[in-house]
């Protein structure tokens, strides 16, 4: 069977499973719709959180990015896992004890203010929406490359599937579909990694393989350092010239993770406070499985690529090279017309004058899109067709599961935080449930449309979503739990200053013509959320000291969420 037939079979099969699960787990009440009735066992919630968390960026792009960044890729590896420690220790158990449906719910009640609730709801909407558009785009790409349907139709099919199970099942349906999606995506990620690890370093465990020895007895990483410097790149494992920026970007990703509403809300679904703690641990184990494999895939793929392609006759390259050339994601331009591929760092002037020019090289001839490192990996390693099909299904699972989680936050912000708690407090539970379904349906359609015609800002979604979450939600929630003295004035001022500072910095440097030379302390827009968070903390604490303490009943809420006993089912009232 050819790859395309396999892809149709495997993708079709996984979609049938998702739909089956969705029908089995329909939601009947707002509690089931928003937080799956608060009855999800911690391990199951861990699985769902992992699928919710790992987006198309984790599955498809991350290993490729690391492959070209080397050591610096650690900012994604640590940044997108370290936040779970903050979640488990500082946020999840207390928010679970608080026992409401959404993050704006907590902000609104803890700071006894509709303004705070509204600011939080709008932040949640903005963060989730920019994020979901990227997922839809990922779905379209995966479909158009492997099923040879148009990009637009790829997005439409993706929208149709998410529409079906999110509208029907709400959080309950999403949770159990995410469990299935985690299984698909982790299997799809591990199988090629294990095969390649066995072929290259003779161990089935990629995490050990990365530190293993090649057939000729040299360590893989030493070999890769050698290959990199031979081509004018910096050593793969070298951490020299580590900047303050790496520190700030890593911190912004961690703090952002802990402040993202679609991650936090998952911990409202477990039955107990102790369950929320251990559930964060399970989630991180399931995430770590992929995140510790990614750097191995990155190193394997980079070594393979250099060995297979560099200084080889173009006419004799393997078939996968030509296949990917057709997509335009891999290009070869024979600048010195010798019919041989020269791949090297032509931005390194010293290397160009001392090595490249004397050999008659006229510039780097190979351009590789980072996204293909994971997708092309099975082909590069000549694995069978079903493995390639599996990777496609895994990529789709990662994009769909994240999209569904985000759509739920969008829907609950509209139907619960804005309608029920602000505009239409008299709405019945049935009415609210209907509003939630309509909101999610509209959100899916808009996200699909935006995925086909992405607005310009979406490319920078990561900087925005993480930066804003770090600078707004994280400090407001942590202070709300750990400081009884924190009041409405402090929290609102902190959130607004943090948001405006971070957004202004990102907009100025991404769209307003700012240049990297003007970065404050060398901090890039991706890392500025960390500074925004510090500013938020300082502003919140100073303002709260100058204004009256919060009322007694709010101080009682804080006392109450600090002890686990008495956590009932999450309620909307």
């Amino acid at each position: 069977m050819d790859v395309q037939t396999w892809t149709f079979i495997i993708v079709g099969l996984t979609f049938a499973i998702y739909i089956g699960v969705a029908i089995w787990s329909r939601a009947g009440s707002t509690s089931e719709f928003y937080v799956a009735g608060g009855g999800v066992p911690p391990v199951v919630n861990g699985l769902a959180t992992a699928a919710d968390w790992m987006s198309a960026a984790s599955f498809i792009s991350m290993a490729g990015l690391i492959s070209f960044m080397g050591y610096q890729g650690a900012q994604y590896l640590m940044g997108w896992t370290g936040g779970y420690v903050l979640l488990a220790l500082l946020l999840a158990p207390y928010l679970r004890k608080f026992g409401k449906f959404t993050v704006p719910d907590f902000i609104g009640e803890r700071y006894y203010s509709q303004t705070a609730r509204l600011v939080a709801a709008l932040c949640a909407l903005f963060i989730s929406f920019t994020y979901v558009v990227g997922q839809m785009k990922g779905v379209g790409v995966a479909f158009s490359r492997f099923l040879e349907v148009d990009f637009e139709w790829g997005v439409v099919i993706g929208v149709g599937i998410v529409f079906f199970y999110a509208v029907l099942g709400g959080m309950k349906g999403i949770t159990y579909t995410q469990v299935a999606q985690y299984c698909v995506l982790i299997f799809a990620y591990m199988v090629p990694a294990i095969f390649i690890s066995i072929m290259m370093v003779g161990t089935p465990i990629p995490q050990l393989g990365l530190g293993g020895d090649l057939a000729d007895g040299t360590a893989l990483l030493a070999k890769l350092d050698q290959l990199s410097t031979d081509l004018g790149f910096k050593e793969y494992t070298s951490s020299k010239k580590t900047t303050i920026d790496l520190f700030f970007v890593t911190a912004a990703l961690m703090l952002g993770t802990a402040g993202l509403p679609h991650v936090i809300v998952r911990f409202f679904t477990v039955p107990k406070v102790s369950g929320a703690r251990v559930s964060a641990g399970w989630a991180l184990i399931f995430i770590a499985l992929l995140y510790t494999t990614a750097p191995a895939i990155a190193a394997f793929a980079r070594t393979n690529l250099i060995n297979t392609v560099n200084e080889k006759e173009y006419a004799e390259l393997p078939e996968w090279f030509n296949n990917w050339e057709k997509t335009g994601l891999l290009t070869f331009e024979d600048k010195n017309a010798d019919g041989i591929v020269q791949y090297y760092n032509d931005a390194n002037p010293e290397y160009v004058t001392s090595v490249a020019a004397p050999k008659g090289w006229k510039g780097n001839e190979l351009t590789v899109d980072r996204d293909i490192m994971v997708l092309a990996n099975p082909e590069i390693a000549s694995l069978p067709g079903w493995v390639i099909a599996l990777v496609v299904a895994g990529g789709l699972a990662s994009a769909l599961s994240t999209a569904a989680g985000l759509l739920l936050v969008i829907s609950s912000s509209i139907s619960h935080d804005i309608l029920k708690k602000w505009l239409m407090p008299e709405i019945s539970e049935k009415g609210e449930l209907r509003a939630a379904r309509i909101a999610i349906a509209v959100a899916v359609v808009i996200a699909g449309y935006a995925g086909i015609n992405p607005p310009g800002f979406v490319a920078q979604v990561v900087a925005f979503a993480f930066g804003l979450a770090a600078a707004s939600f994280f400090p407001a929630i942590v202070l709300g739990i750990f400081s009884k003295r924190m009041n409405m004035q402090g929290a609102i001022a902190g959130m607004i200053v943090g948001l405006i500072f971070t957004a202004t910095y990102i907009i100025y440097f991404k769209y307003g013509g700012g240049t990297p030379e003007q970065y404050w302390f060398g901090i890039s827009p991706e890392g500025i959320g960390t500074l925004g968070m510090l500013i938020n903390f300082v502003v919140s604490i100073s303002i709260s000291q100058l204004t009256p303490p919060p009322p007694a009943h709010v101080q009682d809420i804080v006392e109450n969420i600090r002890i686990p006993r008495g956590a009932g089912e999450a309620t909307g009232h």
């Binding site: 640590m78 158990p93 293993g212 600090r562």
Partner: protein
């Protein structure tokens, strides 16, 4: 639970948090970023040590930290009789 007990319980919790988050910080930002270059002089297996912390070790430590906290807090909840039945 009495006022005094609650204070005690919370103080112990905050002490656990401080210790565990210090380890979290030292391992990721210390070993993985600030001192990675110096640690790269050492090897574990085929890994330079700083590189290992940055791309593998810190993640394992994160997982372990969460489960230590779970264990400590489950005991603490029982000791102060605030656990969920």
């Amino acid at each position: 639970m009495s006022e005094k007990n609650l204070k005690q319980y919370w103080k112990t919790n905050v002490r656990y948090l401080t210790i565990l988050l210090s380890i979290w910080f030292v391992v990721s930002y210390g070993c993985g970023i600030l001192f990675a270059d110096a640690l790269n002089a050492f090897k574990i297996g085929g890994y330079p040590l700083g590189f290992w912390f940055a791309q593998q070790g810190s993640i394992y430590v994160f997982v372990v930290l969460i489960f230590i906290y779970v264990y400590l807090m489950n005991n603490l909840d029982k000791k102060y009789d605030v656990d969920e039945k």
